[in-house]
């Protein structure tokens, strides 16, 4: 069972810390995405698991075998970890044809000729690139090269497949298509996928679990919808979701019950009912509201003006100005408001999130009731 375990992995270059004390268990047959802004250490993490980069400290276990241990001086090379790796720029060998690219790895593994031919044919068919088998990579389009790279990586039937932003060089339409294919591929191959991306939509759409990193530290490691609905801190809340969450500064004090709070924000007073007990440590909190939880409707409690409207067909993002605070709302369908037109909005959801302003950690999830 190819379960991957990272224990206290740290990577330093001189004084610069790339990845800091990371521990993570990647279950068998999971589809994990490593997500984060550029420079957060996601590619480094992937390369360390694959064996292309050596961690400074820690332990990596793949399939119950310790492949790296800084204390015991174990470091099994990438070639012996039986993993597959798809590179961002595909790294196809330009002097070999498509068929040679795919079969080269199998020749190294001493497969016999018929086996190789059979396997290559199978992959060419699976990825729908049969007609290109005699072409060179430079004679293929980006999407076709991508397929060849996948075929080459899948050829030796690796149990673990690493992908480093494999779709970032494709155009938007093709990327969408390949996402669908990758998800099918994951189901068909029975392998564990670890996937690096900076595109949160991609991470959400593909993964069984998303690992969100910032500055080399794991911020949250959870299934996509948990990350979306229950972000652990402001960074996660802010990074995931498009358009981004609204953050409203509030003053809070304890209410009559353990799960009740009194909030003051933008001149309003409201009751906050949390789903659990709340441990309120500071008076300053931030209320996080997803744009879809801030609908525009007649007689809404907040009397604002339209700042700018951005229709995209299926939905419309409306930027709303209230007391010099710019808020974002999403409306289903296509609507166009005139600039500075008066509109009313509400805050309606059971999934509003309260963060501690000082620690940036989440303190509660619940709903509010504006009474004044």
């Amino acid at each position: 069972m190819p379960e991957i375990i990272l224990k206290n992995i740290t990577k330093k270059w001189g004084k610069f810390v790339g990845v800091k004390d990371m521990s993570m268990v990647i279950e068998n047959r999971a589809f994990i995405t490593l997500l984060g802004p550029s420079g957060c250490g996601k590619t480094t993490t992937l390369r360390m698991i694959a064996g292309l980069e050596t961690p400074t400290e820690g332990q990596i276990i793949i399939d119950n075998q310790v492949v790296f241990d800084s204390e015991k001086g174990i470091n099994i090379g990438a070639s012996k970890r039986s993993v597959g790796f798809i590179f961002q720029n595909y790294a196809l060998w330009p002097h070999m044809t498509v068929r040679q690219n795919i079969s080269f790895g199998l020749e190294q593994l001493k497969w016999n000729k018929e086996q190789i031919k059979e396997r290559v044919d199978e992959l060419l068919e699976m990825l729908k690139i049969e007609q290109f088998d005699k072409r060179y990579p430079s004679e293929l389009s980006g999407g076709q090269q991508q397929r060849v790279a996948i075929a080459r990586t899948l050829a030796p039937k690796p149990k673990v497949l690493f992908m480093d932003e494999p779709l970032s060089n494709l155009d938007a339409k093709l990327r969408q298509e390949m996402r669908t294919e990758l998800k099918r591929l994951h189901a068909d191959t029975n392998s564990t996928f670890v996937y690096v991306t900076h595109d949160q939509l991609e991470a959400m759409a593909l993964a069984t679990k998303v690992c969100l990193l910032d500055e080399g530290v794991v911020q949250q490691f959870d299934p996509p919808l948990v990350i979306y609905d229950k972000p652990k801190n402001l960074f996660v809340a802010d990074f995931v979701g498009n358009p981004t969450m609204n953050f409203i500064n509030c003053k809070a004090k304890k209410g009559t019950e353990a799960n009740l709070l009194e909030l003051e924000f933008l001149g309003f007073k409201a009751h906050f009912t949390a789903n659990d007990m709340v441990d309120l440590r500071h008076r300053d909190v931030i209320l996080g509201v997803r744009p879809e939880h801030m609908p525009i409707r007649k007689n809404g409690k907040i009397h604002a003006t339209a700042y700018s409207t951005l229709p995209s067909g299926m939905e419309t993002t409306v930027k709303v100005m209230y007391k010099k605070e710019l808020l974002t709302s999403v409306v289903f369908g296509s609507i166009d408001y005139a600039i500075d037109q008066d509109i009313d909005i509400d805050i309606i959801s059971n999934n509003l999130i309260l963060f501690d302003k000082e620690t940036t950690e989440r303190i509660a999830i619940g709903k509010i009731d504006i009474y004044n």
Binding site: Q59, E71, G73, S79, N89, W93, Q108, P156
Partner: protein, 630 residues
């Protein structure tokens, strides 16, 4: 899950095999693992081996050179007689004292200070001429509506591919006459047009400066031209929009941008000319115009230690020049490499002058590249030198059977029937092939190591170390290895020492070519092969080499052609059994044996050009690719 992460350090016990203690490794073991992990990376192995080899082949010999300036060699015994009686192997400072201070017969002046200043003068003037010619041609080709651009840009690089002495020989073929010292025969001008040029036109500083200047002009052309070509046209266009005049744009914008390139070219040419021997031996020595490099050669047999001292000075100049160059380019790099997406700026219209300038340039380029070849061919088939008549033509110097010719040089057969020539050809070829193989492969491997470990201290150190021989002028490097041969006498007069010195000299070029091509290749191309368990040597042979084939072959080609035409480097080290074609050539010219030396020059050029052409046609590699030119 195995729980190995319990922190039980405080429960220390003395049982060394205990599990807890296993975690707290001994520092020795930790270092051992570190070292093991370090050497598991092939790039690291290459870099470390390179450090060891290069320290042994450059730094240690340099130390030997300095040491040898204080040693009494057999030729020094009589040279230093006025300072006392010395026996071979003694240590003394008197070689320094004599060379730098002795006033009897103006010894120090004649043997050190005058040659030294001659060298500096020659180098400064040559570099200036190279920049003026090369820069002007580069400007005309990239920035004006000149005609025949293609022809000019191809042929203009020729002198750089041809041996240095080509133009010197051509100069003599044209201008020498029987009124000059050395009882020479008349050259073309004197014989056909009755034009007798004075001595200081035919020999000495003037012709040397012209010859070196033209030889190194392609250098300036490639450097300045590539910057002019890649320069973002927006820079000039925005000045045009601000209504600046054309000349002002050139002065205020274009020139400042190419200035660093001009300065580096100046320094590189300066250093090369300082260490060059060939043109000086053709055009200076016959009239007693000595430069440092010719003096070194002359001094080896009469005061060896003093020739080492001069070698030290040459190296010091080289290092100084490079330091200055690094200071300049290091600071300015940020704006010399501007490239832009905008299209080529509109060409300057030369108007009426267009045809005149174009034709003049074509004639000039023709007369420094193609005309010399005709001249060599002509001179090699003239029976009695100086008489240009049909009846005086003969192919004897090419194809006569042994005994048919009576010549100053002591040879008596046509080139193709002369055993000495064939032997020298064989020496030249095997030397060049071996050097090219070693330097090319070394450069490629070092390039691989440096590119893979880029940014680490080790990689930076290695790339500097591999570049170091570039600072050592060719003649001085010869002196260095002469000193090595003193210490390790089994190397004396062998092919091996020529191979080593050639390897060292051309390693910087090959390393640069190798590093550049490796940097173009993303590491992922190799990692994709690591993942599927391809061993290192197979990755090199099956993946990396085939992809970058043409630039690697350039890395082999450059040392090969340079070595085929090299003389300065080998002049001090060649013995009777290891004579090369270029060495014979020098011998012929010293013996005033005009037909042989012209025939041989032509032969060498033809060999170099043919090989280059064949390699280019079959692999697509070319010299200018290796140099990094356009």
């Amino acid at each position: 899950m195995v729980n190995t992460f319990d922190n039980r350090d405080d429960k220390r016990n003395n049982n060394g095999f205990n599990k807890q203690d296993n975690q707290k490794m001994s520092p020795f073991k930790k270092i051992f693992y570190r070292v093991k992990a370090f050497f598991a990376v092939p790039a690291n192995v290459i870099l470390v081996v390179t450090v060891v080899v290069l320290l042994g082949l450059t730094v240690y010999p340099l130390f030997l050179l300095v040491l040898n300036t204080f040693i009494v060699h057999s030729s020094d015994k009589s040279a230093l007689a006025s300072y006392g009686t010395f026996s071979k192997g003694d240590y003394t400072v008197f070689s320094w004292v004599k060379l730098l201070t002795q006033t009897d017969y103006n010894y120090a002046r004649n043997n050190f200070f005058i040659p030294f200043f001659n060298s500096v003068k020659t180098a400064v003037l040559s570099a200036t001429i190279a920049i003026i010619i090369g820069g002007l041609v580069a400007f005309l080709v990239t920035r004006t509506n000149l005609k025949f651009k293609r022809f000019i840009s191809i042929v203009f690089i020729f002198p750089y591919v041809m041996p240095t002495w080509t133009l010197a020989q051509f100069w003599l073929n044209l201008f020498k006459n029987n009124q000059l010292p050395g009882a020479m025969s008349n050259g073309f001008m004197a014989s056909v047009f009755n034009i007798y040029m004075p001595e200081n036109f035919v020999f000495g500083l003037f012709p040397m400066v012209i010859v070196y200047g033209i030889h190194y002009a392609p250098f300036a052309y490639l450097f300045v031209g590539s910057i002019l070509k890649n320069m973002d046209a927006n820079l000039e266009e925005s000045a045009v929009i601000l209504k600046a005049k054309r000349f002002k744009i050139i002065r205020k914008i274009t020139f400042p941008i190419v200035k660093p390139a001009i300065l580096s070219t100046f320094l590189l040419v300066f250093a090369s000319v300082m260490g060059s021997y060939t043109a000086a031996v053709y055009l200076g020595t016959p009239v007693g115009f000595y430069v440092l490099s010719t003096k070194i050669k002359a001094m080896v047999s009469v005061g060896q230690a003093q020739s080492y001292i001069m070698g030290c000075f040459l190296i010091a100049v080289g290092i100084m020049v490079m330091t200055v160059n690094n200071l300049i380019t290091g600071k300015r790099k940020s704006y010399t490499t501007v490239t832009g997406k905008s299209s080529q700026i509109s060409f300057i219209d030369l108007k009426k002058l267009k045809n005149v300038i174009s034709i003049c340039l074509v004639v000039f380029v023709f007369s420094i590249t193609i005309l010399p070849l005709f001249s060599f061919a002509l001179e090699s088939v003239i029976n009695v030198p100086g008489t240009y008549q049909l009846s005086n033509l003969t192919l004897d110097y090419w194809i006569a059977k042994p005994g048919a010719i009576l010549d100053n040089s002591g040879l008596d057969a046509g080139l193709f029937y002369e055993e000495t020539i064939w032997k020298a050809m064989w020496n030249s070829l095997r030397l060049s092939l071996t050097v090219a193989f070693l330097a090319g492969t070394g450069g490629m491997l070092i390039g691989y190591g440096v590119a893979r470990r880029r940014g680490t201290k080790l990689a930076t150190f290695v790339s500097n170390l591999a570049f170091f021989p570039y600072l050592v002028p060719a003649m001085a490097l010869g002196a260095v290895y002469l000193a090595v041969a003193v210490k390790f006498s089994f190397l004396h007069n062998t092919m091996l020492i020529l191979v080593i010195v050639g390897f060292i000299k051309y390693l910087p070029f090959a390393t640069r070519a190798g590093t550049n091509s490796m940097l173009q290749l993303s590491a992922e191309i190799e990692e994709a092969a690591i993942i599927v368990n391809v061993p290192w040597w197979k990755r090199m042979l099956r993946i990396i080499f085939p992809i970058q084939k043409s630039s690697f072959i350039s890395g082999y080609l450059l040392p090969f052609t340079s070595c085929m035409r090299e003389l300065s480097l080998f002049a001090l080290l060649i013995g009777t059994g290891t004579q090369t074609l270029t060495y014979l050539l020098m011998y012929f010219s010293q013996k005033n044996s005009s037909q042989y030396s012209n025939a041989l020059t032509l032969l060498i050029i033809v060999i170099v050009l043919v090989i280059q052409f064949v390699v280019k046609k079959t692999t697509g590699a070319s010299i200018d690719k290796g140099v990094g030119g356009s």
